[in-house]
Chain length 432, copies 2
C-alpha cells in the first residue's frame, strides 16, 4: 500500500481531501507522467532482478525466472494509465499487487516452476486513445498493430493542450516518451502460461453485500462508437425552429432515447465525449460528434440495443430539418467491439481457493460468504489475454462502487486482501 | 461588389462552390485575418483622405470631413469580423457599403454639412469573445471597458488552436494585432450625429415576400447565458442509470425542454457551445458547460422564458442523481442582456424615403410594396448606437434567409440596392 501511493506521485489529479493521498489521478496513457511511472516500474523490477521486455505497443513485461526455462511465466497484469479524472486504484492496484507479490516471493525465498511476471499494459483506459485495452488486444492479435499505432488521441482531453490542434497517434506518443519497443507485440513472442489480474470492482455489489473478494467469472459485452450528426449551421436569432436542422437538438433527443432503450433491455448506453461545431453562441450547430458506449450482460443484447438505436436515431435525424427539406443525417463508426467473455475454469478455481483461504480467519460464521462470483461491468486487459491463455480476475470492493472519479477509494485492508489472493492464486496455478 | 469580395481575401472559410467567391468566411475577431482586413480598411480610407481614429476597443472610425467642423459626422457602420463558419455578407456588406458611399460622394464631388464616417466595430459577432456587439456597447457606455478588456475567448473555436489551453482576453488579442488604440472608447470622445447600418436580413421575410428592402424599425430582445451542470464523474460500464448524476444526460433533457418552452411563447432558445468534462468515452461526464441564447420580440417574453427554464432546469437537475442522494446542480451566468430596441423615427424616415426612391423605377404597380418595415431577429451594433444617437438600419434579402453559414448569399443587385439606399439616407439625414 505504501508503494501503491508512492507510484501515484506521477500525475496527481483532483484533490478531494486533506491527506497527501486524498487526490485523484490524471495520468493519461503515454503522457510525461506515464513515462515517469514506467521508468519507476522498470527500475523497481530490475532491482528485483527481473528480465524486462518492452514491446511495440509499449507493454512492459518483467519476469522473475522460475526453475524451468522451457515454460512461459505466469503473469500478474494490469495498467498504470488513468482516466483524466481518475482515481488511485483503477489499474494501479493490479500492477502494484504484482510488484508486491514478487517482493514477497523474494522475502520468502520462494522458487516457482515457471517464472512469474508482472505486465503493465499500455492505454487500458481508452481515455486518451479511444480504444480500451488496445495493447493487450494487439498482443492477443485481435487488433492489428497498424490500427493501434495509427489511432489518434481524442481532442477533448483537457490536460494535453496539443490534442485539439495536432493530435498524436499512439505511435508518435510512444516514440515521444521512448517506449516504442522493438519486440513484436504478440502472445507468440511474449507468451504467458496464464494471466491473473487484481482490480477494484468499480461497481456496488461487493460493498453493498459486505463481501470482501470477488471471483470474476465473466465480463459483460460492450461496443464503442463514434457518431456524427450532420445538420446545417444557421443563425440562432433569425431562424425559426421549423427552419432548423439543429444537430445538437437532434443529439439531445438521441441521448434521452438511448437511455430509455438501453434501460428497457437491462443494458447501458452512455455518451462521454461530445463536440458541437462550429461552437459559437449564436450559430445553431451544424455538426455534432459524440461517443457512444453500449454495454450489456450478453453480446446479443448489446447488438439489439444498437439496432434499435440505429433506427431511432435515423428517425430523430429525419425529423430535424424536415421543414426545410434538409433533414439531419447520422453516421456511425464502430471503434471497438468486445463480446461477453467467460474466464478459464482453472484460473477461476485458483482464485476461488485462494480467496477462501485468505478470508478463512474472518470472524463470521461462514467465511466463504465473504466471497462472491461476479461478472465485470468494465473491460480489462484480462478480456484479451483470455483469448489466448487461461485467465481470471480478482475484485476487491471500492467505496460506493465509485470509479473513474478522483474519490475512488479502496481501503488498505482490501488492497492487502486482494494482493494476498493474487499471490496465492499464481502460486497455486504454478503448482498445477 | 468587387470591393466586397476583395475584402474577403483575408479569412477564406468553407468552400461550397466552384467560383472564386463561392467560399464562406472564417475571420474571427482580432485574428491575423482580421488584422489584415483592418489594415486594408485603414489604407483604403486614408486613400479617400479620411481621418482615422482607433479606440481602446479597436473600433476604427474613418471620417470624410464636411463643411462644418463643429458638428459630429453621420456614420455608416457595421463589422468585418465573422462567425467561424460565416458568410461573405454578414457585417462585411455594411462596412463595404460605407466605403462605396464615400467613393461615390468623392466621384460626385458631394459636399456635406457635417462629415460622413465609416466605422468598423470590433467583435460584433460575439463568436470569438462571447458577448455580441461588445465594442459598440463600450462606446455607448453600456458595457464597462474593463469587462470587455477582460473577456476571454471561447475554448471551442476550432481555428484558434491556443484557445483551449491559453485563452486570450480581448485586451491581449487587441495588443497582439496592434489594434489597442489609445483614444477612449466612448460616444463622448468619438461622437456621432447618427448611425446607419446596412445588413443582410439573415431571415426569410424579404425573400419569401419577394421584397427588396427592409426598413428596420426594431430589434428583438435577447439574453446570453453560460450554464454549468454539475453531476458526478463515474464509470460508464459499471454504473447503473439510477446511480448516475450524468451531467450530459441532464443537459439533453434541458435542451429538449428549452425548445418546447420557447416555442410555446413565440420565442427562440438555442445552444451553440457545449463542453462535457472530463471528455472520455468511458466516463459519465460530471460537468457540462453550455451557452444558452434566448430571444423574443419583447423583453418581457424573454424574461418569462428564462424564468420557466430556470425552474425546469432545476427540476431536471434534481431528478438526475436523486437515486444516490447526489443530484445534479445547475448554475447560470448572464453574459449579455439586450432588451428590445426601437429605432429613431427620423432615421427610419430617411431610410424609408430613400428606399422608396431607389425602388421607384421597378417594373411593378406599387414599387413601395417592395419595401417592408421589419423587426430584426439578430442583434447589430445599431442596437447600442441607438442608445446614444439617432439610428436605424436597412435590410436586403439573402438566399433562403440563411446566415452564419458559408453559403450565405446576397445578389450583387441587392447589395447595390442596399448601398444606394444607405448613401441616400445619410445624405438626407445630413440635410435635415
Ligand atoms: N477497468 C476499466 O475501467 N477499464 C476501462 C475499459 C472500460 O471502459 O471498461
Ligand atoms: N448580425 C449578427 O449576426 N449579429 C450577431 C449578434 C447576434 O447574435 O444577433
Amino acid at each position: 500500500a505504501k508503494d501503491l501511493h508512492h507510484s501515484c506521485q506521477w500525475g496527481f489529479g483532483i484533490r478531494w481531501g486533506d491527506n497527501t493521498t486524498d487526490t485523484g489521478m490524471q495520468r493519461l496513457a503515454l503522457s510525461e507522467e506515464d513515462k515517469s511511472v514506467r521508468d519507476w516500474f522498470i527500475q523497481t523490477m530490475k532491482d528485483l532482478k527481473c528480465e524486462i521486455t518492452v514491446d511495440e505497443m509499449g507493454n512492459i513485461f518483467a519476469v522473475r525466472p522460475g526453475r524451468r526455462k522451457d515454460v512461459p511465466a505466469t503473469f500478474i497484469g494490469s495498467h498504470l494509465d488513468t482516466q483524466p479524472t481518475g482515481g488511485r486504484y483503477d489499474g494501479i492496484l493490479g500492477v502494484l499487487a504484482g510488484v508486491e507479490a514478487l517482493k514477497r516471493m523474494d522475502e520468502m525465498g520462494l522458487e516457482t516452476e515457471g517464472g512469474v511476471g508482472v505486465v503493465n499494459w499500455t492505454n487500458e483506459e481508452g481515455a486518451r486513445f479511444p480504444v480500451s485495452m488496445i495493447s493487450s488486444g494487439v498482443w492477443a492479435e485481435c487488433i492489428p498493430l497498424s490500427k493501434a499505432h495509427n489511432l489518434k488521441e481524442v481532442p477533448t482531453v483537457a490536460s494535453l493542450p496539443t490534442a485539439a490542434s495536432a493530435p498524436e497517434t499512439m505511435k508518435s506518443a510512444l516514440q515521444k516518451i521512448g517506449y516504442l519497443g522493438s519486440v513484436p507485440c504478440s502472445y507468440k513472442t511474449t507468451p504467458m502460461a496464464a494471466h491473473f489480474e487484481l482490480h477494484i470492482e468499480q461497481g456496488p455489489h461487493l460493498v453493498s453485500a459486505n463481501q470482501r473478494v470477488g471471483v470474476v467469472a465473466a465480463v459483460q459485452a460492450y461496443r464503442w462508437f463514434r457518431l456524427k450528426v450532420i445538420g446545417r449551421d444557421t443563425h440562432t436569432g433569425t431562424t425559426a425552429f421549423e427552419h432548423r436542422a439543429d444537430a445538437l437538438y437532434a443529439f439531445s433527443r438521441m441521448m434521452v432515447r438511448a437511455r430509455e432503450i438501453a434501460a428497457a433491455r437491462g443494458c447501458l448506453a452512455s455518451v462521454g465525449i461530445i463536440e458541437a461545431k462550429p461552437g459559437s453562441v449564436n450559430t445553431v450547430p451544424g455538426q455534432v460528434n459524440f461517443s457512444l458506449d453500449i454495454r450489456g450482460p450478453e453480446t446479443e443484447l448489446v447488438a439489439e440495443v444498437e439496432k434499435e438505436l440505429r433506427a431511432d436515431f435515423d428517425a430523430i435525424a429525419a425529423e430535424e430539418g424536415a421543414g426545410i427539406g434538409k433533414p439531419c443525417r447520422v453516421e456511425w463508426t464502430l471503434d471497438f467491439d468486445s463480446p461477453a467473455v467467460k474466464f478459464h475454469d482453472d484460473c477461476i478455481d485458483c482464485v476461488q481457493q485462494s480467496a477462501h483461504a485468505v478470508v478463512a480467519d474472518a470472524p463470521v460464521a461462514v467465511p466463504e460468504s465473504l466471497v462472491r462470483h461476479i461478472m465485470s461491468g468494465a473491460g480489462h486487459d484480462s478480456v484479451f489475454t483470455s483469448k489466448r491463455v487461461p485467465t481470471s480476475m480478482i475484485f476487491v470492493p471500492c467505496n460506493d462502487g465509485l470509479s473513474h472519479h478522483p474519490e475512488e477509494f479502496c481501503s488498505a485492508d482490501d488492497c492487502a486482501t486482494g494482493a494476498s489472493v493474487i499471490l496465492q492464486a499464481v502460486v497455486r496455478y504454478d503448482r498445477k
